[in-house]
Symmetry: C2
Subunit: 339 residues, 2 copies
């Protein structure tokens, strides 16, 4: 309730001086500065964010748009962003833009246009053209996490590399009949799924296993992976010896399905994922680790740099995933020596 005017009065100075003393900008004698600070503390003064925003043009607030918050990856990125902002005293306003909903349309048409933020982080948005056009209108720095964009800075894991590496790991173990599970033709996360699928395809092709390439579509969720794998594995005649999941959730779903079908992992079936999901350890899942929390933090750094220095060249951060071998993968037949 106490405004800067009261603080100023209390300290016996003008509003202008009080403002300088509190914000640290401009010349103020040490004596008056501490007097003002004391007054502010005593009155429990807290500046009005709205007024500061109006006067400075800086909202001290960052917008975050993502299609889901209840998926591991997104939740982790969000936490990373939140932590980084917290340390810097910035607020975060969240826009949950679920694909294909009316709410998403409103976010792009109304909410984002309000520009209640100094910059925006778009996580796995995969905007369609119309939405992209809205985004460019915003006239505030934007950083994308996941995906690719010519217009914004990007922070992401190298998806192609991750899937390739997972596949190579299985090939090195002697597998030939390796299927790729996850991703649907018109999944929203099309880009990532596609990159990973193609990483798998490349690895297979390079190893001369092009004829074994198989893609079992599924929703990119744990139950989705479960269903797809249950389907794929129940056909005993054409059962692959190894699976690459488009992400850990799908891979874990596949492991659960295998267990229910009585198929031993890894002796009868090897499964590799991508992510290092919080459940990966529990399922002894071999995976390619990415740390979404760090991606969130990195996105904040990049964004703040762009806010501080308008016109800065865009940044593109591609982070290589790291292979973590646990015990969901094992050799088949005589094991070849590894890569």
């Amino acid at each position: 309730m106490a405004g800067i005017a009261e603080v100023a009065a209390h300290a016996g100075v003008s509003k202008a001086t009080a403002s300088r003393a509190l914000s640290g900008a401009g010349y103020v004698s040490e004596a008056t500065k501490s007097r003002v600070q004391a007054a502010a503390a005593e009155l429990g003064y807290v500046p009005s964010a709205g007024a500061v925003g109006l006067a400075t043009g800086r909202t001290q607030n960052i917008g975050v748009v993502m299609p889901y918050v209840n998926r591991w990856f997104f939740a982790e990125v969000l936490e990373g962003i939140q932590q980084a902002l917290l340390e810097r005293g910035l607020d975060l306003t969240l826009y949950d833009a679920k694909p294909g909903t009316e709410g998403r349309a409103r976010i792009f048409d109304d909410f984002l246009a309000r520009k209640r933020f100094d910059g925006l982080i778009a996580v796995g948005l995969e905007p369609v053209d119309h939405e992209l056009e809205r985004l460019t209108r915003i006239d505030r720095p934007i950083v994308s996490v996941v995906g690719s964009s010519e217009l914004t800075s990007v922070v992401a894991v190298d998806d192609d590399y991750a899937a390739r590496r997972a596949t190579e790991h299985l090939i090195a173990l002697g597998h030939r009949d390796i299927a790729f599970v996850g991703g649907a033709p018109q999944s929203h996360w099309a880009h990532v799924d596609q990159e990973r699928l193609s990483g798998y395809q490349h690895a297979m092709t390079e190893a001369g296993l092009a004829s074994f390439i198989r893609h079992a579509h599924s929703e990119v969720t744990l139950p989705g992976g479960y269903a797809a794998a249950a389907d794929l594995l129940s056909d005993t005649r054409r059962r692959p010896t190894a699976l690459v999941g488009v992400c850990d959730e799908v891979a874990i779903g596949a492991i659960i399905a295998a267990r229910r079908l009585g198929i031993q992992v890894p002796s009868a079936l090897s499964v590799a994922g991508i992510d290092d999901h919080e459940f990966a350890e529990m399922f002894s899942l071999t995976t390619l680790q990415q740390v979404p929390r760090e991606q969130g933090r990195a996105a904040v750094s990049v964004l703040l740099a762009e806010i501080a220095e308008p016109g800065r060249a865009r940044t593109e951060l591609r982070i290589p995933a790291r292979l973590i071998v646990r015990s969901s993968t094992a050799g088949i037949a005589p094991v070849e020596s590894g890569v």
Copy 2:
């Protein structure tokens, strides 16, 4: 970029009239109203949230504080809140107040004090005294989701009832040696854990099974449930015939542990949970359903009512969970006729 002054000029009216025409408050002739609206549309006018906030004292923004965003329950509540706010054109700023962190302290000391919102929703916060004191200082309506509070309105499932019902279900199936899994002495979510534990204890006691009461502590996560159950079940001499999980994540962890130990569910072990988690179906988990998304929506309704009508009496919504019987529970010995 276009301000209301330009819109006014474009439409040949004063700023005041333009404001009324756009906000719909006060008398404006239909003719001028549509003229102003046309001008606004043409110029792509979007009001400055900060300025509106300053002038009206309403930020059109709701704050949400929660200790985690990456747990099923919290993520679901968050989505419910977000949806409800979206429909009403309100923004949401998120504060991720992880217990015991420095960030949490900052949120309570600095961020919330900024009062950048018209009202606050606290999800599973369980504030300690010092924090509670901060909260009361905020002087904005607050609604709690989960937990209990004398000071704020509350929206929550009836935890005692849910656990009691789960336990009764198992008792009705003929089980006597039923253990409760989950919750640690100083878990952050102490209140909920405690309520559920005591629901279990009551049901056991009322059925004359007090001597069978057993509580296996664990972290309230899927891996936590896995670890605790693995421990509990590996002692073959004292193995219970049924388990009540403090929540579905723990219950599912227990099922996974049981399967790994070769214990058939439900023939050798019945498991019941509380939540109806997104994975419940996949594990055929019998559970007491709550719908956190709806709790989020309800919290928004209550909060907006309190914002609209200051001094309104506090609301307390206790929602009874609904028993969903799947196939993780079954009778032991001759099945008694059910409750």
